[in-house]
Symmetry: C2
Subunit: 146 residues, 2 copies
DNA sequence: CTTGACTCTGTAGATGACTACAGGGTTTAT
DNA sequence: ATAAACCCTGTAGTCATCTACAGAGTCAAG
């Protein structure tokens, strides 16, 4: 028999049982088809969808934004031109995030190198580790964000 | 006279007035030095620090995690080896996020290309735009995340 | 045909991250 | 020297995102 129950889906995708219902209500999952007695039956690919939501969340997208991404994905066959515009917007957001992460990675790995250097020399003079200082100002772009 | 008032800092870094006090309380900003009458005086680089917080938030880090990043950055001269371990952990988190974003970018730009192709041909047969379908399953890594 | 595990709905509680007062002191401009 | 514009603290309210009941129905095993 195909179709997962809510708790099966919860286990398989490692989200809370109640969260599934919540997501359905929020439009992040499509309304699940029901059995005669009203039990939800989820298809396998709901697992993928939940994984997608999880990943997008971890990248700093709100549920609202994720809903948009999913609608784009579901190809709610709009006047395609509008879809394209939204895609462009999302794409630029994603690229900005990538840039920010690149900077952050650079800061962290520089700090790590410094830290390692210090540790290697610690046999001679213990103490110290002036750790890392300013990794904050990755360019102070006078920019909005809201 | 040097030192920004709370509202000056708020304006310059485009965060809410109250958020500054909140962040101070949460340890995301160091306790600001005060004037004789108890007014806070912020240094210029607090602006950078707030910018850092904003960026990190947009990348999906919680305030808790950001506090850790900042502590690392402040070089609270710990047994350096422990700092290094934390740096490593953060670094791997950042790299994972980068990977996820790369996938997401690929999905979105593929969708965009498809969308554009369709639009270019629309003179002949309007309608259609089977938009994008599955960009969700970027590999179904059977993985945790919490 | 009962019992225990599971489902449903609706609603309330929890957590993180702000945001907005209220009541009172301080500074500045007139 | 008084009003407007700020600052302080403490506390309460808001919004997003879950998470946990409570009360009632359903299903599968013994």
């Amino acid at each position: 028999m195909d179709g997962l129950t809510r708790s099966q889906l919860a286990q398989r995708s490692r989200v809370n049982l109640e969260t599934i219902r919540f997501y359905e209500g929020e439009g992040l999952l499509p309304p699940a088809p029901r059995t005669a007695s009203g039990y939800r039956k989820f298809s396998e690919n709901t697992i993928d969808r939940l994984a997608f939501v999880k990943r997008a969340k971890a990248l700093g997208f709100s549920l609202e934004e994720i809903r948009e991404l999913l609608h784009l994905q579901d190809g709610h066959a709009d006047p395609c031109a509008e879809v394209r515009d939204r895609l462009r917007t999302k794409l630029s957001v994603v690229r900005e995030k990538k840039e920010e992460l690149k900077k952050l990675e650079a800061h962290l790995s520089a700090a790590l190198r410094k830290c390692n250097r210090t540790l290697r020399q610690q046999s001679k003079h213990p103490e110290a580790c002036p750790t890392l200082r300013q990794m904050a100002n990755s360019d102070v772009h006078g920019g909005e964000m809201e």
